[in-house]
């Protein structure tokens, strides 16, 4: 079958392509140009150098390689969302939006135009067909690298055409495979930061995109008393302790961000704990929202151990989650992803 592989120039997508070639598929390498590179070294991933690496890997594997322009899509769906969320006092996950709205939406469509039945990426997740014929999304075999958290929004039609060749491998195995194949990216470090934010300085990025964000406001305590000032709500996230500019002797944490009033509320660690959350834009992997309460483990951040909870769908796209034990720093804008063991049941954006 013809498969398009989204190649970022990193080792995971490179090995994904290599594996598909070994399996005898008709592989087409595609790299998305996500932002204008001409001002030189924009982000930490998918730079001109990364695109070049992808091309070299494709040449080594003997597959065609195309660079396709996704600037306006990426800007509309990922970068703008990033700015809007921060402006609303939320903490977005651009990677999850990119997967759902760029890669497995527009790129998947284009892959069809190139005659490909599937789109493959280097994500550490697994997709399998259940006995009932439905597609299941499961955590990657390597728990430390599992990226299922970022793919909760995939629908059945998308999963049917998705392919994740490295999902059943460990990272070390993937690098070893790259070395065996003589791929130049075998030892390239993983990119850790948001791909379009240079040096990880997201506050500076946001202020360039929306200068109005840099508006001063008050930092207040739980009783509403002002304890400090800040230079913009976008500099904060729930549960944040550092960078508050306060010296009170007692460690204080960001409890709430009120963008409308430009106000950040801080308090003791204990106050960060909550047992419920509401989620919108919910996607249920199996296709429809279940009725009644569903028992599951819910993960509220990429680096969070999924915690036991019950979920109830309020309608097609909204759900409420009640945890068995209080969870710390539930953050609006992040994703709440529902798991049954390794199986992803679905997820939504935390309100």
């Amino acid at each position: 079958m013809r498969v398009v592989v989204a190649m970022s120039g990193g080792v995971d997508s490179s090995v994904a392509a290599a594996l598909l070639v070994e399996q005898g598929h008709d592989v087409v390498g595609v790299s998305m140009q996500l932002y204008d590179q001409r001002d030189g070294g924009f982000g930490t991933c998918c730079t001109i150098d990364d695109l070049h690496d992808a091309r070299r890997v494709a040449a080594r594997l003997g597959i065609p390689h195309y660079i396709v322009n996704f600037e306006s899509h990426f800007h509309a769906h990922v970068q703008r969302n990033f700015v809007d969320e921060y402006a609303r006092g939320r903490t977005p996950i651009p990677c999850a939006h990119c997967n759902g709205e760029v890669k497995f939406s527009e790129l998947l469509l284009r892959a069809g135009g190139y005659g490909a039945s599937h789109l493959a990426t280097g994500h550490y997740v697994r997709v399998e067909r259940g006995d009932d014929g439905r597609w299941h999304l499961r955590r990657g075999l390597d728990a430390a690298k599992d990226q299922s958290y970022f793919l909760f929004s995939l629908t059945q039609p998308q999963l049917a055409r998705a392919c994740f060749p490295v999902g059943g491998l460990g990272k070390d195995e993937v690098r070893a495979h790259a070395r065996r194949q003589g791929l130049l990216v075998a030892d390239k470090p993983d990119s850790q930061e948001i791909c379009f934010v240079p040096d990880g300085d997201y506050a500076a990025f946001l202020e360039r995109q929306a200068p109005a964000l840099a508006t001063a406001g008050a930092i207040v305590d739980g009783d509403g008393r002002q304890v400090g000032t800040h230079g913009g709500v976008h500099r904060f996230t729930i549960g944040q302790r550092k960078g508050l500019g306060l010296s009170t002797g007692v460690p204080l944490y960001v409890l709430d961000i009120d963008a409308a009033r430009q106000q950040v509320t801080v308090g003791p660690r204990a106050a960060l704990e909550q047992t419920t959350l509401a989620a919108s834009g919910v996607n249920w992997i199996a296709g429809g929202a279940p009725s009644g309460w569903t028992v599951a483990a819910v993960q509220i951040r990429h680096r969070h151990v999924a915690a036991a909870a019950r979920i109830r769908a309020l309608d097609d796209r909204r759900a409420e989650v009640v945890f068995d034990s209080p969870q710390s720093a539930i953050t609006p804008g992040q994703a709440a992803v529902f798991y049954d063991g390794d199986d992803v049941l679905g997820g939504g954006w935390i309100d």
Partner: protein
């Protein structure tokens, strides 16, 4: 079995050129500037090639300056002429809005140094109107540069008329003939130009080699400074094998012009008619009766040229769109933009450019494949 329809981008080496390239690289490796036997041998090779290229243009061998390609020649012409004329008070440059980037970017660089630059408009025909030149010409105009044929849409510009008007005002006239020299008869005397650029890899010669024809008596300042090669007009040790191969390609071109042009034109017309007939909502860009023989630029409504390019390549058919040379950036074609088309139409065109090796079978295969590819891409676009 791949089908190559991108000859305006580049052409394969004709056998004579490859043979000459190899033989010279192997046997005549001296530095042409050397006094001794080895230098003399190299000089002789250059002389032969110079004669062949001059004959291609109807010019004198002494009027030929070898360069590192068409872009090099354009730079040498524009920068060389402007630098030479600046002290005389002439500081105005005119170029057409559909020139190749080699001319446009060079003009922009001169503008940053204080030169006044006028851009000649084109209408939907993609042809420059000589009256438009009269509108901007002044006694301060140093140089006018208008290409002989546009690389994207193939339209032939009225160079004779334009050059005559420039001459009346005392301005020099340069033409970028990269898309015509070696592909059709070009006569510098008949055209009445002062400077002409050409590029070997467009007519079966190697890449990285070209020439600038400079009318005897026209003085340019060299833009590549250093040694005194090419009579002090372009420094740098000559690429003797490449130049020799260019000479061979020029000889082949002259021999094959009479037979090749009508045959290629017929194939182009067949392709054009076939695609327009088989695929709805398509249109040719550029005045069809004023074009080089090998080019057709077609707009496909509701299709992104980037996707069509890739889909065609995966079917083994090589074509291009715009003249975008950068890594993946889908710039709208500046040529189509200059012709006044709406934004969408500047992003949905495909250029098919045929060559001496193109066959009827290849053309028919393309006509066969196009409809289903376009239909699929249009149906996906509709789903959005």
């Amino acid at each position: 079995m791949r089908i190559y329809l991108d000859h305006n981008a580049t052409t394969p080496l004709v056998p004579d050129a490859l043979e000459r390239l190899t033989a010279v690289a192997r046997d005549v490796w001296g530095n042409a500037s050397s006094v001794h036997h080895f230098g003399q041998q190299a000089k002789a090779v250059l002389d032969d090639a110079r004669g062949a290229v001059a004959a291609l243009l109807g010019g004198e061998p002494s009027e030929i300056v070898f360069t590192g390609g068409g872009t090099d020649a354009d730079n040498a012409a524009l920068r060389g002429a402007c630098e030479a004329l600046e002290p005389s008070g002439r500081k105005h440059l005119v170029v057409s809005s559909i020139e190749h980037e080699a001319v446009l970017r060079t003009a922009a660089a001169l503008a940053r140094r204080g030169w006044e630059v006028s851009l000649l408009p084109v209408g939907a025909s993609g042809v420059v109107d000589p009256d438009a030149l009269d509108d901007v010409l002044t006694d301060r105009t140093a140089l006018v540069s208008v290409m002989h044929a546009n690389n994207e849409i193939g339209t032939l510009q009225p160079v004779e008329a334009l050059a005559a008007r420039a001459r009346r005002r005392g301005a020099l006239f340069h033409t970028d003939a990269v898309q015509t020299a070696g592909k059709m008869p070009v006569d510098v005397r008949a055209l009445g130009v002062d400077l002409l650029s050409l590029s070997a890899h467009k007519f079966g010669g190697p890449k990285g080699v070209g020439a600038l024809w400079i009318r005897r008596g026209v003085r340019l300042l060299p833009s590549m400074t250093g040694g005194r090669q090419e009579r002090g007009r372009r420094a740098g040790t000559e690429n003797v094998p490449g130049i020799a191969a260019m000479g061979a390609a020029a000889e082949v071109a002259r021999r094959t012009f009479p037979e090749a042009a009508p045959r290629i034109a017929a194939l182009r017309d067949r392709l054009e008619g076939g695609v327009l007939g088989a695929v709805p909502s398509t249109a040719v860009n550029g005045q069809p009766d004023r074009r080089v023989a090998n080019t057709t630029n077609i707009s496909f409504d509701r299709v992104e040229s980037e996707s069509l390019l890739i889909a065609l390549d995966l079917e083994g058919i090589a074509v291009s769109s715009g003249s975008a040379c950068s890594s993946g950036t889908l710039e709208p074609s500046h040529v189509l933009k200059a012709m006044g088309f709406p934004h969408q139409r500047t992003l949905n065109s495909i250029r098919f450019s045929l060559g001496t090796s193109t066959t009827a079978a290849e053309i028919d295969r393309v006509i066969e494949v196009m409809p289903k590819l376009v239909t699929k891409l249009r149906s996906l676009a509709a789903r959005h």
